[in-house]
């Protein structure tokens, strides 16, 4: 999976404007929406990520200094995303700890980004909430009709249509 391309797809679907800045190799994916801006860096290995993230961040921020100076309060909302497809469980804690470094940018860092789902998980703080439970009206009566097969139809009918419970109980006794 080409993380950069896939990231642009995901971010654009989330309403971001994205483009690639080719001043680095691989290119840095720049993104912006009404509330924030960010740069997504892709590394070959987790080790590269740990060694090069700061330099990469510095380079792209320097490149966009003018823009950020003109951004006003938005300049506080800069994200740096550091990703690698290499699965490196040993280094993952170190990589994740980068996120607790608040200097200059809010950082998102992850290893083992091999699938689109991995990418979406990694970019989750930037994305709208995905899970949208669709709680349609559920009708107990309809479900009851399909469940209460052991009851005589007349009993079920009485239960559903007669308001007085004593009358219903009486009819249940007469049902067969």
């Amino acid at each position: 999976m080409d993380i950069g391309t896939q990231a642009e797809i995901v971010l654009r679907e989330a309403g971001y404007d994205t483009w690639a800045w080719t001043g680095a190799s691989p290119p840095v994916i720049c993104f912006e929406n009404a509330g924030l801006v960010g740069f997504l860096h892709v590394f070959d290995t987790a080790d590269d990520l740990l060694r090069q993230w700061e330099e990469a961040q510095q380079r792209v921020l320097a490149r966009h200094t003018a823009s950020l100076r003109a951004a006003g309060a938005k300049a506080w909302n800069v994200y740096s995303v550091f990703l690698t497809s290499q699965a490196a469980p040993d280094l993952q804690p170190q990589v994740e700890r980068l996120e607790e470094n608040f200097s200059l940018t809010r950082k998102i860092a992850s290893t083992g980004v091999g699938t689109a789902d991995d990418l979406v998980s990694a970019l989750m703080p930037l994305l709208p909430i995905r899970a949208q439970p669709l709680l349609h009206d559920a009708d107990v009566v309809e479900r009851l009709r399909s469940r209460a097969k052991d009851l005589p139809a007349s009993a079920l009918l009485a239960f559903l249509n007669i308001p007085n419970v004593q009358d219903v109980a009486e009819i249940l006794g007469s049902s067969s």
């Binding site: 404007d17 009404a34 509330g35 801006v37 003109a70 703080p125 009206d137 009851l144 419970v165 049902s175």
Partner: protein, 687 residues
């Protein structure tokens, strides 16, 4: 539906009128501890519900929370009220005013209609407040620290009612009604059984007493023989037998008469069928025939004599006239001596005398002929009279015999009618002796039956047996009815329980399905808020049938309630409460209000919360959040989306000069610049 504004005066720590115009996008309330940030949230809840639910203890001493709703400080306020305004998507405003003096200006129904849509749960206003307003005090208390059952109930209630969920209550009521009816039927059945057992014991004793009296015992046997036992109890059978006695008597009388008549008929028939009688009848019939023939002959002779007589009599009438002429002519003599006075012919006296003599002779001859004819006629008539007398005598004799035969037939017919009337076997009609034997048997039985009845009726023991038997039979009938009723009631209970099970199962399935739908949302929010560094996802499961449990598990089936720190529990609790808040399909009011949600949460996790709130803002939700930390307030104002249409606002709450809470400052958060990165993209050199 979003919050428009809240205006309060004389409410808790706000003495003077304060109005907070909520930003349609978001509102950040900040200020030191105790300045009244939470009071703004309280005012929202109070306007909707009429109380404040954040205090776990509602009363202390003689005071309750209600005693602290309104300003209690020095210098009384001008008024005591809260006004809460909502604005819907079309800009239409809905306000609720609650004042100390005037109460509320809207009914709960009106408020529900404005804030809640279809499928709202029970007590919808409390539910909407509970799920829209996330207070610091309750973050853990309403999530991880709930028991699993309470947690299930909390989520189920928040998700809203399932259509037709009232059926569960109804089914339960039906079970209650059926069980109550069954209990009554069971009591009636048991009571009847108990009474029957008592009466049967009594009957057994009475029977023993009756059996010890041989007369009574044999009398009962006689009654048993006369009236079948299936006709009822002994008293009933005695009654039947007594009522039957007259008909038995009549039958016996009929049988006796039939015996007598049978014998009479037998004798009569024998006499009629004897050879002499037959011969006599034949002779009588022959005599009648002969007499009739003789009568016919005599009649013919009379007719002939009569004709002869009539001829002679006619001639004799001429002779009478001739006699008159002779007498007259003799008296006159010849007219003028030579003329006949009768024929005017010229006659001599001799000739005249000879003529008269000849006439007299002629008259004499005619008289003799008449006399002879009359005599002959009289003789013929006498013969006819005699023949008719013989016919009459023969006919009378024959009629007597015919009468005897008619009488026999008539008596036979009446005899058969007697058999039919008394239902006597027709075979006995020709056998009076056998009929008599049968009559004797029946008479004997009747006598014995009457004796038995008299004996039984005279016996008090039998009376006791009869009345006890009657009571026992009545109780048996009652028991049958009670058993039928009990069976019906038990069937009703079975059906009702099955119904309740099915309703519960159906509702449970639907609720479980709905709860299952929010599991991914909870997990996503958990992942976003990242309460724990290692356990990145949370398992959410519903179990139980009668009692339902909603359990949360992290890692290797660990309960986060017991392995998470206070801060982690709050972060996980926020994920839980936010997922509940987002999963309410029935809530028209969609503002999220958080009252100091970041206590005990480190900066990193506070940032995650801000990012989650930012996502909610991106989706158009209105967020109101009260925080103490100015830096966090700054962060919120930067990260929550503010647009021209959905502006964000920041209020600083502080004590005023008079010591009452007040709005110290209000600031609209300007929308961020857009397209900033691209703006200088082309003019900067690569560094």
């Amino acid at each position: 539906m979003k919050l428009g504004y809240v205006e309060l005066c004389g409410f808790r720590g706000f003495r003077d009128k304060v109005r907070v115009n909520f930003g349609p996008g978001f509102t950040v309330l900040t200020g030191r501890n105790g300045v009244g940030k939470s009071t703004i949230c309280d005012a929202i809840e109070y306007a909707i519900l009429g109380d404040i639910s954040k205090y776990p203890i509602e009363s202390a001493g003689r005071e309750t929370v209600k005693d602290y709703i309104w300003w209690r400080g020095k210098r009384p306020p001008k008024s005591h009220y809260v006004i809460l305004s909502f604005v819907d998507e079309t800009g239409k405003e809905f306000t609720i005013t609650r004042s100390r003096e005037g109460g509320v200006d809207k009914t709960d129904g009106e408020i529900e209609a404005a804030l809640c849509g279809s499928g709202a749960p029970d007590d919808p206003l409390r539910q909407i407040c509970r799920t829209s307003l996330i207070r610091d005090e309750w973050i853990s208390g309403l999530s991880l620290d709930l028991t699993e059952t309470q947690r299930f109930d909390f989520v189920r209630a928040a998700l809203g009612s399932v259509v037709g969920s009232e059926l569960a209550t109804k089914a339960k009521s039906v079970v209650g009604a059926a069980e109550s009816a069954c209990e009554t039927a069971e009591k009636t059945y048991d009571l009847t059984r108990s009474r029957l057992a008592d009466v049967l014991a009594e009957l057994s004793k009475a029977n023993d007493v009756a059996a010890r009296n041989p007369n009574v015992a044999s009398a009962i046997a006689v009654v048993d023989a006369a009236v079948p036992s299936d006709a009822g109890d002994l008293a009933r059978r005695i009654d039947i037998a007594r009522q039957d006695l007259p008909s038995r008597h009549r039958r016996l009388e009929g049988m006796s008469a039939a015996v007598f008549e049978g014998r009479e008929l037998e004798a009569y028939r024998a006499s009629m069928n004897s050879l002499e009688a037959v011969k006599e009848r034949e002779q009588a019939k022959a005599k009648l025939g002969e007499a009739q023939t003789a009568r016919d002959t005599a009649q013919a002779e009379v007719d002939k004599a009569n004709q002869a007589y009539e001829v002679v009599a006619k001639a004799n009438e001429v002779a009478a006239s001739l006699s008159s002429l002779i007498t007259h002519g003799q008296a006159l003599g010849l007219y003028e001596g030579h003329y006949c006075p009768l024929c005017a012919a010229e006659r001599t006296d001799i000739e005249f005398a000879e003529g008269l003599a000849a006439a007299r002779k002629r008259m004499t001859d005619l008289g003799a002929e008449v006399n002879a004819a009359a005599e002959t006629l009289n003789l013929a008539k006498a013969g006819l009279s005699q023949a008719e007398g013989a016919v009459s005598a023969a006919a009378a004799t024959w009629a007597r015999y015919e009468g005897q035969e008619r009488t026999l037939r008539l008596r036979e017919e009446r005899h058969i009618e007697t058999f039919e009337r008394y239902q006597i076997k027709p075979a006995y009609a020709s056998d009076p002796d056998e009929l008599e034997r049968q009559a004797l048997v029946e008479r004997d039985e009747l006598v014995e039956l009457e004796r038995a009845l008299n004996a039984l009726e005279a016996s008090r023991a039998v009376d006791a047996v009869a009345s006890t038997e009657a009571r026992a039979n009545a109780l048996r009938r009652d028991l049958d009815v009670a058993a039928d009723e009990l069976a019906r009631a038990q069937k009703a209970v079975d059906f009702a329980k099955s119904l309740e099970r099915n309703v519960r199962r159906s509702a449970t399935e639907l609720v479980d399905e709905r709860l299952a739908l929010i599991s991914p949302l909870l997990n996503e929010l958990y992942q976003r808020l990242r309460p724990h560094a290692d356990w990145r996802s949370i398992e959410y499961s519903v179990r139980g049938d009668v009692r339902k449990f909603l359990s949360l598990r992290v890692g290797d089936n660990l309960n986060p309630q017991f392995v998470f720190s206070s801060g982690q529990r709050r972060a996980a609790g926020l994920a839980f409460l936010l997922s509940v808040y987002l999963a309410r399909p029935w809530a028209r009011w969609q503002s999220l209000i958080l009252d100091d949600p970041v206590q005990h949460i480190d900066d990193f996790r506070a940032l995650h919360l801000v990012e989650v709130l930012s996502s909610l803002r991106q989706a158009g939700r209105q967020v109101v959040i009260a925080v103490e930390d100015e830096a966090l307030a700054d962060l919120l104002c930067r990260r929550l989306l503010s647009t021209d249409e959905q502006i964000g606002r920041r209020y600083v709450i502080d004590y005023g000069e008079q010591g009452a809470a007040d709005v110290a400052s209000k600031q609209d958060v300007a929308p961020m610049a857009t397209g900033v990165l691209r703006r200088f993209d082309g003019i900067q050199a690569v560094s």
